[in-house]
Assembly symmetry: C2
Homo-oligomer: 130 residues x 2
DNA sequence: TCACCAGCTGATGATGCGATGAGATGAGGA
DNA sequence: TCCTCATCTCATCGCATCATCAGCTGGTGA
């Protein structure tokens, strides 16, 4: 029972971990606008194809995204609409605690290392800066 | 502009990272029931005091929790009610994608390493606050 | 059948992250 | 004042994680 709870916590942490990497999050953000193929995601995020594939596999295994093969292309999309809700909610919270997050250097933040060129998601911008 | 977005993604990833560690998440879960002192959290999560303190400092820096000193005790609570909402939403999503998350072994999950004894969650609720 | 393209997988190396243990700070009580 | 308790801080260490670099699979069109 406690075991169950511990398991639940571990599980949920795992879920959040899917969102906790800039590369994966960049992919998820790109998917907010709709299904995307790997190539589009690669172009949109600036990740290497290999790297993107790794993260996509992770997201897929975790059940956050679903893949559909079409010819030689694979299209990815959210597996559940609430993933999008979760991202929005995070945006809202972030708007208020952003300053704090900025200053959270306790455990250093991974390098940006992404975002190359506008391409792909014309709408990807849409950020609500604070 | 893209830079801004990259920054936003990094920032949001950082936010999620606050939730992505089992220890921190255990702390946050404990706080869902209300403000708690460090000792209570230590008892409730099974973390070492030092370790808990580290994670609390991280959560504090990130703006996810707020600390209040009272005598020699320090009480922690959510800094924003939406943190709770986020956790609930994650619960919901998890309920549906749990199977997938279970099987996500791509990047191994950290050890449970927590949860010692029942108490806390149930018993912990009435005491605190003076 | 062959060349090509989209995407996946596996190995490797660097490092960020989290746990631990010892010591420091600071409030309360005797 | 001295001691104790609650909490924080710092240094260290081991491991998980992520990015990169091959090389591989499988669908497509000629």
């Amino acid at each position: 029972m406690l075991q169950v709870q511990a398991q639940g916590v571990t599980l949920k942490a795992k879920l959040f971990r899917g969102f906790a990497d800039p590369s994966r999050l960049a992919i998820l953000e790109a998917l907010r606008e709709g299904p995307r193929t790997v190539s589009e995601l690669v172009a949109g995020t600036g990740l290497s194809q290999s790297n993107a594939s790794n993260h996509l596999a992770c997201l897929r295994d975790c059940g956050l995204v679903a893949a559909t093969q079409r010819g030689r292309f694979v299209t990815y999309q959210f597996s559940d609409p609430r993933i999008e809700t979760l991202l929005s909610l995070a945006d809202e919270v972030l708007a208020d605690v952003a300053r704090g997050v900025y200053e959270c250097t306790r455990y250093t933040a991974p390098e940006p290392a992404i975002i190359p060129e506008p391409a792909v998601t014309t709408a990807m911008k849409e950020g609500r800066d604070a």
